[in-house]
């Protein structure tokens, strides 16, 4: 597959020649480097990873340092001239000369600098430093892209035969088709007594906690099915959430918020969070966000046990909440159809989006923080763009409307509607799910009450009135986890060490804002303010250009008159420049004004505008 000749090359005549001239056995790559052909590309075979049908063909090939889209044509003649140069000592030729190619899209994924933005005007020293930093950054992104080759696992997928609708494939078929280990991930827990259930997976995807409305709380290692604890709290359970590790469990009970450990021992009862309906845990900030019936959004710092902020949403009872995993902003859905975005640093919402006519029933945000899915009482399911525009990208009316929504790590969207769950898939990880055709559907034994995709597994957990169902959804989970971030196979020691590290780098709550990279940007406003204050304090601008002082020339040539003349010349030139610039600016402004005036219809009242 790797040696597949390019469509442009003339392969057949080459083969003829080969057969007629000599029948020496050849290596598979030498076919392309025969000097008689002129159209064949001597470039190295494309990326080895380019195998699976779901991976995009990488047409662009990366050169040594810069990502260029040019084909490597100009390199070719040199190779013909001295093929000896590429030969090693033993005489063998390097079939893959140069650095390994890297596809452009992969590099883009790791790129952190916006190349389209120009560097600011600055001193030469700063500028050169910035340039060096940019080059370094590019190098790192290429290296990171290259290291993708080492990823061990491929994502799962489900494809129908031609014409077959994947939504018609039922769980039993999938279970039958997959291996035993995967089939074991599909199970039903029949718990009709205490339902309906809410559930939550831990961040590593290894542990599952669920709580039934009638007080049943349990936590288990769902892969080995080992029960960690099972208790009845003798009170209604509204929501359940793992804290930073599987050792701690927050349960929103009828009156107060309780925290249990993995033995089921109650550690804390937090009376300042009362009548909590929904819980969200922000793992990097160690904040537990609680939305309550009283209309308060409360942030509890679980590392020190203090309430960081209690924000009054002023929108009545709160029971729709989700977090944006990209920037830790909390999204609250309200009964007037708006979704508001909250950060603990602000008393007011960061943004309010009118999403539905009628109340919002469910909100979910995908892992890249780009898309938000909402469903409302108007039976609509909408996907919003969160990159500044907050406009709906796609809308679909569902027969019953979705009561619960969730995104998977790879961008699959699940909606729970009555006792049915529908899953929609997009083109890839960074694209929104297309709502045209569901990817999978499943009917449960009771109405859905909680949904979550298991991280790093192709599994969807559904809590309903009949218990818990673990569904198989191929292609849902991220195949390759990072061992230092969240490792499903970590030992106790590793978990302890990770916990210390995570606590050391706990991000302060004040840093939560819409753009998490904003911290790395230059604060231009305060910089300019500081400059202004400095000028005021000093009484002059220390960075202003000094007035031109002509240098004395040879003996006799720098009379006072000539010096003054030279000075005057430079000053005049500067003055002319200034005038030219201001004229240009004026013209530009006039042009803009004209364009504006033609755009809007002239009104009779315009004559009074000064």
């Amino acid at each position: 597959m790797e040696t597949a000749p390019k469509p442009g090359s003339d392969v057949p005549p080459k083969k003829d020649k080969l057969q007629t001239k000599r029948k020496k056995p050849r290596r598979y790559w030498e076919e392309e480097t025969v000097p008689t052909t002129d159209g064949a590309s001597p470039g190295p075979p494309c990326n080895k990873k380019n195998r699976g049908p779901q991976r995009p063909k990488n047409a662009h090939i990366l050169k040594k340092s810069r990502i260029s889209k040019k084909p490597q044509v100009p390199k070719k003649p040199r190779e013909w001239k001295n093929p000896e140069s590429q030969r090693s000592l033993s005489g063998a030729q390097d079939p893959f000369p140069g650095p390994a190619p890297v596809p452009v899209e992969v590099v883009q994924k790791f790129c952190r600098i916006d190349k389209s933005r120009k560097l600011p005007r600055s001193k030469a020293k700063t500028r050169s430093r910035l340039e060096v930093a940019e080059a370094e950054e590019e190098e790192t992104s290429i290296k990171a892209a290259r290291s993708e080759l080492l990823l061990a696992e491929e994502p799962g997928f489900l494809e129908g035969e031609d014409g077959e609708d994947t939504a018609k494939i039922c769980q039993a078929d999938i279970v039958e088709a997959v291996d035993i280990a995967s089939a074991a991930k599909h199970f039903d827990l029949n718990l009709r007594q205490f339902g309906p259930y809410r559930l939550n997976y831990s961040r590593t995807g290894r542990h599952l906690a669920f709580g039934g409305r009638r007080g049943h709380v349990a936590a288990l290692d769902w892969v080995t099915k080992k029960l960690m604890c099972e208790i009845n709290v003798m009170e209604a359970v509204r929501d359940i959430r793992f804290l930073h590790s599987e050792a701690l469990l927050a349960v929103a009970q009828n009156r107060w918020l309780h925290i249990y450990d993995n033995q089921g021992i109650e550690l804390h009862c937090i009376r300042r969070c009362d009548r909590v309906t929904r819980l969200e845990f922000l793992p990097f900030h160690f904040l537990l966000a609680t939305a309550s019936e009283t209309g308060f959004l409360t942030y509890l710092d679980v590392s020190v046990g203090k309430i960081v902020a209690a924000l009054n949403a002023r929108a009545g009872r709160l029971d729709v909440m989700s977090q944006n995993p990209y920037n830790a902003v909390i999204h609250l859905g309200h009964s007037n159809g708006t979704v508001s975005l909250w950060s603990p640093a602000m008393k007011e919402p960061l943004a309010k989006i009118l999403c539905h006519r009628g109340g919002v029933r469910a909100v979910a945000v995908d892992s890249t923080g780009t898309y938000m899915a909402t469903s409302g009482l108007d039976h609509q399911l909408k996907i919003f763009d969160l990159r500044g525009t907050y406009q709906p990208l796609s809308t679909r009316t569902l027969p019953h409307g979705a009561g619960h929504l969730a995104f998977s790590q790879r961008g699959l969207l699940v909606a729970g509607m009555g006792d049915v769950v529908n899953i929609w898939a997009g083109q890839g990880k960074a694209s929104p799910p297309s709502l045209e055709q569901p990817y999978l559907t499943h009917r449960l034994s009771g109405p859905v009450h909680g949904l979550q995709f298991c991280p790093f597994e192709d599994v969807l957990g559904v809590g309903h009135s009949g218990g818990i169902t673990s569904m198989l959804v191929p292609g849902a989970g991220e195949p390759n986890f990072d061992g230092l971030e969240s490792n499903p196979y970590r030992s106790r020691k590793q978990r302890q060490e990770w916990e210390v590290k995570a606590l050391l780098e706990k991000v302060p709550a004040e840093l939560i804002c819409l753009d998490p990279r904003a911290l790395a940007e230059v604060d231009v406003i305060s910089l300019e303010q500081g400059k202004k204050e400095r000028i005021e304090r000093l009484g002059y601008d220390p960075e202003a250009k000094a007035p031109f002082q002509p240098k004395p020339k040879q003996k006799g040539r720098s009379s006072t008159a000539s010096l003054v003349k030279r000075k005057r010349k430079v000053m005049d030139e500067e003055h002319r420049d200034k005038v030219r610039q201001s004229l240009q600016q004026q013209q530009q402004q006039q042009k803009e004004a004209k364009a504006k005036s033609t755009g809007a219809r002239p009104s009779a009242l315009d004559r009074f505008v000064r």
Partner: protein, 445 residues
């Protein structure tokens, strides 16, 4: 129907035996590592705090002198050997690894004014108040031999400083005039003078080895070329310069320690404006020495502290003081650029780390990697107000602290007056003189 489920073999992710290392697969996908900027910021903050926690620069105090230490010299070939001359004419040679004195010589009557080693490290020269220049062997006398100098030159006037050429058997002394001596002769090969005041220090340029610089008490710094009979040029400053030191990496650059609490870094090609004015001391600066990297220098001051300045910054990056350290008279940066030595009035030589929080000894590769990572983070986030505040915080003795406050008020008053003067006079009639130009009186060629 084609279906593939994500199914991992746990054997690929869990170590086989307890003796193995844990397996840690990595995936550098940015979506798996959210909040990278805030997390790096927190890491940088922690690293900065730890740096302040581990900042313990004081290593040792070498005591033994019976009078104030007046001059210090490094051994050119041996990192562990240091020479010091005291105000009672005693010269001691120290071993830094054992932190003891290995040899004591009663070299002069009165002060030892200057001490310098020969470039080969076999002998050293001292000058003293008794108008003599003496050359001594670096090794001690054999059994039964007496402690005697190799050569003694009797001069006519008091010598106040000495420096040896970096490559040839030539040395220079200063006093009433700058004398250049051949080691084999008892008369100077050349005597140069410009003005009539006593010259306090003379230094050879380590790169352009024929160049010398000297500073005199008539407020000037004079540059000489050994190959010429007359001095090159001089610059006159506001106040007296105590010592100068050449940058070992950049041949043109030297730094002058001035009486007016400042240090001035000059480019010898353009003496009319210093490249940088280094301000932070609150009393006269007595000595200065460059790090072998040429990026930083250390200065000793009458205000009982030593400070480390980057060459291109006007403020110091570090200040060292102890309760017992009195006026610091001489300071040296060791040749491995890791330590600083200072000799002070109260008869002690103190050894400091050049980087206050540096861990001494051999680092494991993980320690080294962590150190490098933290260093880069600190550098990346150094301008953030929280981090800057922590990184800049230094404890100062009360006397220095109050003097800084006082001088700040004085400076502010002077500046305010100047601003008012500019504001209330005809525009352009009162020139704005920058801080750099303020202190240079004249340049004479």
């Amino acid at each position: 129907m084609k279906v593939k489920m994500l199914s991992r073999n746990p054997d690929n992710y869990v170590r086989d035996t307890k003796l193995d290392l844990q397996r840690v697969p990595r995936n550098y996908d940015p979506t798996l590592h959210p909040f990278e900027v805030p997390r790096e910021y927190v890491r940088a903050l922690n690293a900065t705090k730890l740096e302040r926690v581990f900042a313990k620069p004081f290593l040792a105090s070498l005591d033994g002198h019976r009078d104030g230490v007046n001059c210090l010299a490094k051994h050119p070939k041996n990192l562990a050997t240091v020479l010091s001359g005291a105000c009672d004419g005693e010269v001691r040679i120290w071993n830094l690894t054992q932190r003891n004195c290995i040899r004591t010589i009663q070299a002069h009557e009165g002060f030892v004014r200057g001490i310098c080693t020969r470039f080969c490290g076999t002998s050293f020269f001292t000058v003293g108040d008794d108008k003599t220049v003496k050359q001594w062997k670096m090794d001690g006398p054999g059994y039964g031999e007496e402690e005697e100098p190799l050569h003694t030159i009797l001069g006519k006037t008091v010598y106040t400083g000495i420096d040896h050429h970096w490559k040839e058997a030539v040395f220079a002394t200063c006093g009433q005039q700058v004398d250049i001596w051949d080691e084999q002769r008892t008369n100077p090969i050349c005597s140069m003078t410009w003005g009539f005041d006593s010259i306090s220090s003379v230094k050879f340029n380590p790169v352009e080895t024929f160049l010398l610089g000297s500073c005199a008490s008539d407020r000037n710094i004079v540059l000489y070329d050994m190959r010429q009979a007359t001095p090159l040029k001089k610059v006159i400053l506001d106040m007296r310069t105590n010592t100068i030191c050449w940058n070992p990496m950049e041949a043109f650059i030297f730094t002058a320690a001035n009486e007016d609490y400042n240090l001035y870094t000059f480019d010898m090609r353009a003496l009319d404006t210093p490249v940088m004015v280094h301000m932070d001391h609150v009393s006269a600066v007595l000595d200065v020495d460059y790090s072998p990297t040429g990026k930083e220098f250390v200065s000793a001051s009458f205000d009982k502290s030593i400070r480390i300045f980057p060459v291109d910054k006007s403020r110091s990056r570090e200040v060292y003081h102890t309760k017992r350290m009195q006026h610091v008279i001489c300071v040296k940066w060791t040749s491995d650029s890791k330590y600083i030595m200072c000799g002070s009035d109260e008869m002690n030589i103190r050894l400091w780390k050049a980087n206050a929080s540096e861990k001494l000894g051999v680092l494991t590769s993980r320690e080294k990697a962590a150190k490098d990572y933290n260093q880069k983070l600190k550098e990346k986030f150094q301008h953030y107000p929280h981090i800057k505040r922590i990184a800049r915080h230094r404890h100062l003795p009360k006397s220095i602290y109050s003097q800084i406050q006082e001088q700040r008020i004085m400076k502010e008053a002077r500046r305010r007056k100047e601003v008012n003067r500019i504001k209330h006079s005809k525009p352009g009639s009162v020139p704005i003189v920058s801080e750099k130009k303020k202190h240079v009186v004249a340049v004479v060629k």
